[in-house]
């Protein structure tokens, strides 16, 4: 626990002088110290690891590489100022919860405890790495226009695929919890901050570092294993593998801490009257996702740690010849990996169920059932991981059980669909861009979910396993589901964050391009898989050539459509800048009752909540919250025993 804090001293400090800003702790020092730390510790590692056989070759000194990454992390965090507070605490100085909020624009380049600043940093970081991963995908489709490895050398193609997969998985798992979660959860439950502001900032900067460490793999020869990092291939691979292991471990830590922070916030910091049955469904989505993150990420961390030991100090966790077993990795990785794919689904559920009532102008149809469905998904996702190993020869006699649990998940998922359908019933639907994305989410996720039934059925899975069918399936659930929902949420909440609405017409052009070309890209890949095209190959049966060329072209159009989003951001947020007003969507949710952009302290007075934010069409419904009440201490009821904390 690096966060032993006590009562905060929230006296606003005066803005620092320019000189203070320059010499203070910020990103520039972080980068400089990270570089210094890498080389110093790499040299140290060569000294330490010299006597280990596997480290003897000068070009394969994994221990030194890991030392270097550790040094880089240390320098990065020192430069960003993450060690000042723990050290002052170790000297017994008093606790505080506020840091770096007075630095003007420099807030965005350093440790800052304002959850809104961190969320915006997250937005930029995730968009950036999403762009890197997406351009990788464009290059992959370029390679696949030929049925033999020609455009990109075979080995580098594997690195490309691995970079794309790992980058997307890492960034998308932080992609909603980080930006939207950090920004909206305190606003939606009526709090001024997250429970652990410094931890919040730490997770962001770890995520950023992880992204660049992963990219640095190509300086180290790349890695050939895809995002699953299967052993023993990952044990024999080149030093680029160390970058994969280290960056994924950083993400694991970050993910775990994000979840911890959000759970603690929701449990303890709800405003008076924000009872459990009044929490917005988006917050429930964040909560269930966070539970998965807190419990699953540590297992990933342990697995990566074991692989790192195998590569550096010659332990034999995964080497069958020396008492290890490759199945150990498969089990640990997928025990994380399957909750991970629901970490990538539940936020989508939360976003679309939050958007639907606003534009259907109706209450959420069955609030409690929706929450129950989310918890059902979260619970079941821990019991299905071996369906990734149906043909691997591990615990083959348990396959009926895992087939059953896997198919069970379609029940709570179906509930989410039922709620969406019920909310649309006799509604007054307005087709704004966020609503279009929410509806597209149901369209895509339906196809993704139904294709999952084929994969969960073992006889069918024998053919589809490890083929492009799987690839199309999880792109339908992750991109068609989470990414569509996230972009919808982005269109929906950006006016609240920046104060400027995104352009509707441009947004609709973007939506239709993205929707059409997404389906044109990934639906044919189901056929490619059934026709016998394995994943992650740079060459394939010539009879599939026309299909792949078609897919490549529509994939590039899909990439172009995302430029529409970028253009929309630049146009409306940088050039035109028409103020959106506090509540452009006429939503009843708490965050929309605040001015946009949200002031530094969120609420002048902690509001008193009157009802759940879905009272559309209910005559003489009370306002969602009273803001003018005389000061009530925040979190009053939430931390009494019945509040469920102790």
């Amino acid at each position: 626990m690096s966060t032993i804090e006590s009562t905060p001293t929230t006296t606003p400090t005066k803005a620092p002088t320019f000189r203070e800003q320059l010499v203070g702790f910020h990103l520039i020092w972080g980068v400089v110290l990270a570089a210094v730390g890498y080389f110093v510790c790499h040299w140290l590692g060569t000294k330490v690891g010299g006597h280990i056989d596997s480290q003897s070759a000068t070009d394969q000194d994994d221990l030194a590489v890991f030392f270097g990454f550790l040094g880089a992390t240390l320098g990065w965090l020192i430069g960003l100022g993450f060690f000042n507070y723990p050290l002052s605490r170790m000297l017994g100085r008093p606790a505080s919860l506020v840091e770096g909020e007075e630095y003007g624009v420099w807030r965005y380049f350093r440790l800052c405890t304002d959850h809104k600043v961190v969320a915006i940093q997250y937005f930029v970081a995730v968009l950036f790495f999403f762009g890197v991963g997406g351009l990788n995908a464009m290059l992959i489709r370029g390679e696949l226009t030929s049925d033999n490895a020609t455009f990109i050398p075979a080995g580098n193609y594997l690195t490309l695929v691995s970079l794309h997969g790992t980058m997307m998985l890492m960034m998308m798992s932080a992609g909603v919890l980080g930006p939207l979660g950090n920004y909206l959860v305190p606003l939606m439950i009526g709090a001024r901050r997250m429970a652990f502001p410094r931890v919040e900032s730490l997770t962001l900067w770890l995520t950023v570092l992880a992204g660049f460490v992963l990219i640095s793999a190509i300086f180290l020869g790349g890695f050939p294993t895809g995002w699953t990092g299967y052993v023993p291939l990952s044990v024999e691979a080149r030093a680029g593998m160390d970058a994969y292991l280290f960056s994924f471990a950083l993400i694991g830590i970050s993910l775990c801490l994000v979840g911890l922070n959000i759970i603690a916030t929701v449990m303890t910091m709800r405003a008076p009257g924000m009872y459990w049955n009044r929490i917005p469904v988006f917050v429930w989505g964040m909560l269930t996702t966070s539970i998965l993150a807190v419990l699953a990420a540590p297992v990933l961390f342990a697995a990566l740690y074991m692989a790192a030991l195998d590569r550096t100090v010659e332990t034999t966790f995964f080497l069958a010849s020396n008492g290890g077993s490759p199945f150990l990795w498969d089990n640990l990785f997928w025990f994380f990996g399957h909750p991970e794919v629901y970490i990538l689904a539940l936020p989508g559920f939360g976003i679309v169920l939050e958007i639907l009532p606003v534009f259907a102008r109706k209450p959420l149809w069955g609030y409690r059932v929706a929450v129950a469905g989310m918890f059902g998904v979260a619970l079941l996702s821990f019991m299905v991981w071996q369906h990734h190993l149906f043909v691997s020869g591990i615990n083959a006699n348990l396959r009926p059980f895992y087939m059953f649990t896997t198919e069970l998940i379609s029940i709570p998922t179906g509930i989410i669909f039922l709620i969406g359908m019920g909310t649309l019933w006799r509604a007054r639907i307005r087709f704004t861009v966020p609503m279009l994305f929410a509806l597209a989410f149901f369209f895509n996720f339906l196809i993704g979910g139904l294709s999952g039934v084929y994969l969960s059925d073992v006889p069918s899975d024998v053919t589809t396993h490890g083929s492009y069918f799987v690839m199309a399936h999880f792109h339908y659930t992750i991109m068609g589901g989470l990414v569509f929902a996230t972009i919808g949420g982005f269109y929906y909440w950006l006016p609240k964050i920046t104060g400027y609405k995104l352009d509707e017409t441009l947004g609709k052009i973007h939506f239709w391009m993205m929707f059409i070309f997404f389906n044109l890209t990934f639906f044919p890949l189901f056929a490619a898989g059934l026709l016998g095209m394995p994943r992650r190959v740079s060459n394939y049966n010539p009879s599939l050539h026309a299909l792949n060329v078609f897919v490549s072209i529509s994939a590039w159009c899909l990439g172009l459509s995302l430029l529409g989003l970028l253009a929309n951001i630049v146009w409306t947020q940088l050039l035109v800048r028409e103020p959106a007003g506090p509540n452009p969507w006429l939503s009843k949710s708490l965050e929309w009752q605040l001015p946009s952009p949200v002031p530094a302290y969120n609420f002048e007075r902690i509001p008193v909540i009157n009802s759940a934010p879905y009272s559309y069409g209910i005559p003489d419904a009370p306002p969602v919250a009273d803001f003018g009440k005389p000061a009530v201490l925040p979190g009053g009821p939430a931390i009494t025993p019945e509040g469920g904390v102790i």
Binding site: A320, R361, S392, G414, V453, P459, H465
Partner: protein, 290 residues
């Protein structure tokens, strides 16, 4: 379209909209489900090259036939709602504040649960009963065996970076770089690897079994057609993963006998050097100093 008027008078509107949606859905099913089964169905891979791939083909057809009504229901519902319940014009009107109806929710739960249970039972029967594991790898102690497993032709599949080789314990432990199988005979694959993880995928035969070092992965197949089939690697195994392809052949018993006899003669010299036949060969993680 009298959407506003329809939505205005409560319960009656519910019934009317519900009936319309139901009718559209039924019509769509009547048209599409037969097409899926009898027009699209026969073309759904994999093919009828073995009893296992036939089973997989049937499963795929059944799942597609079951998925179609579900897909249509959601699509029809959403399409109808989007068309009928759309609010045109600038003014923002609130819809009726309908709360969740427990009866509908319970009905939905029961329906989905029934479908799921049916699928699980169907899959389990297909896996353990009719198709002896459906051609999937079952690990060292297979649960679903063919009736005459004892008489099955034993073939060891050895994955290595980056080539498949095949060992024939019934024929003096000879090892061949090609796979030839007799038709209409139970075959028992023992899939293993001597370096990293591979996955043995005989596409037309509907066989897929991961090759994991230190593990003996058994898969059963009974080829029913004289034809050739593609062999691929379905688990990322390094540089030439995409090139670990070869073509196998299913031939008549007599042709198989001559082929294996020739192979024994041809590889006589190297067979003497092979290690004694075993279900697993542990790779030594040697780091040879150059």
């Amino acid at each position: 379209m009298s959407a506003v008027g329809a939505a205005a008078n409560g319960a009656g509107a519910d019934v009317r909209h519900g009936r319309r949606i139901l009718i559209i859905w039924v019509i769509a099913n009547v048209i599409l489900v037969p097409i899926v089964i009898w027009v699209v169905g026969p073309h759904i891979p994999p093919y009828h090259a073995s009893r296992q791939s036939t089973e997989q083909h049937n499963v795929n057809v059944v799942l597609t036939a079951l998925a179609t009504p579900v897909l249509l229901m959601i699509w029809v519902y959403f399409g109808y709602s989007i068309a009928v319940f759309r609010q045109r014009g600038a003014e923002v009107v609130d819809g009726p504040p309908l709360e969740g109806d427990p009866r509908i929710q319970i009905t939905w739960l029961v329906a989905t649960t029934a479908i799921v249970l049916a699928l699980a039972v169907y899959g389990t029967v297909g896996l353990l009963g009719s198709s002896n594991g459906a051609g999937g790898g079952q690990g060292p102690t297979p649960l679903a065996k063919p009736a005459n497993a004892a008489g099955a032709l034993q073939v060891q599949v050895i994955g290595q970076q980056w080539m498949w080789t095949f060992r024939w314990p019934g024929y003096g432990g000879v090892e061949t770089p090609y796979l030839v199988l007799p038709v209409n005979r139970e075959v028992e694959f023992h899939v293993t690897s001597i370096d990293v993880a591979h996955s043995f995928w005989a596409y037309e035969l509907g066989v897929k079994a991961d090759a994991i070092p230190g593990n003996d992965n058994v898969a059963f197949v009974k080829p029913t057609q004289v034809r050739s089939f593609q062999i691929r690697c379905a688990e990322l195994c390094g540089l030439w993963h995409g090139h670990m392809n070869t073509t196998g052949r299913v031939v008549r018993q007599a042709a198989f006998n001559t082929w294996i006899a020739q192979a024994r003669v041809r590889y006589r010299g190297v067979t003497k050097q092979l290690p004694p036949y075993s279900h697993v060969y542990y790779p030594v993680p040697d780091q040879r100093a150059s």
